[in-house]
Amino acid sequence: MKSIEQIHEELNIWHFPHHPWEVTIGNMHLAFNPKTLIMTWIVMIIIAVFWVWATRNMEMKKPSKKQLLAEEIFNFLRGLVNENLDPHKGASIMTLIFALFIFLLFSNLWGLVPTMMSPTADLNTTAGLAVMVFILVQILGFRYRGGGYVKYYLHPYPFFLPLTVVEELAKPVTLAFRLYGNIFAGEVLMAVLLSLIGLKTFYFLGFLPHVIWLAFSIFVGCIQAFIFTMLTIAYTARAVAEEEH
């Protein structure tokens, strides 16, 4: 039985460095994670190529299969946005929601390709996305409700302010950890399975647990992309909604 480090070493056939690239500019000390960066670029290229391919030669009368797929995903997300927000406000975040869902879906699924890694299996990526959503929600709340947004923090009584602040700060933390935990745990469990069940048992159905876990990971990747997007919509809707009295 091999240790997990050995498995990771054997799977590292592209020779990614183990340590982050350290850069110091003035007083700022930056560390770049090369594997995550390269995987994010690959996912970005795949998304660009796929959507250019899917939306080329669009037709009204006789849409092709790929066009129908693109329209179906867009309509699904637009339905979710319109259910929670009024259409005028919803249209302004629709592009962000669509981009977020597509990026998360592709990057969650990209980690299932052998020797590749999901960009979202790194806490830095998910934390960046979650902080972006957090700032966006605050800005949209102020933009649509102005000073009335302060009342949202003092909602039932002013002395609940610390509780509301903690609740608001817990949102990006749980968003980031949920996505990172699910995807990272999926990849680590695959490595653990490879270390427990060697490839020598291949002819005795030793690959079955890996296949089952891969199938489950496809489901988990889609669900997590959906939940991240859905929660973004829900948080925005809650911050933007008018007081109903």
């Binding site: 949920r178 745990a185 669900i223 939940i227």
Partner: protein, 76 residues
């Protein structure tokens, strides 16, 4: 008790107890969704969306427990 034994125990407890609570919660959510769908089958789509959001929120805590367990696993 040395550190590695404590880390092994802690990892097992984090995963086990987290999975226990999340299992109860997921079971409650799913059973209520089945009941509601049986009562009003035309609301099935909406209920499924709400169920997935609820399950996703419940699953967050055990998954954080699993991440902590992996951190402890490295200390064994």
């Amino acid at each position: 008790m040395d550190v590695s034994a404590g880390a092994a125990l802690g990892a097992a407890l984090a995963v086990g107890l987290g999975a226990l609570g999340a299992g109860i919660g997921d079971g409650l959510v799913s059973s209520k969704t089945v009941e509601a769908t049986a009562r009003q089958p035309e609301l099935r789509g909406n209920l499924m969306v709400i169920m997935f959001i609820g399950v996703g929120l419940i699953e967050a805590l055990p998954i954080i427990g699993v991440v902590i367990a992996f951190m402890l696993f490295g200390k064994i």
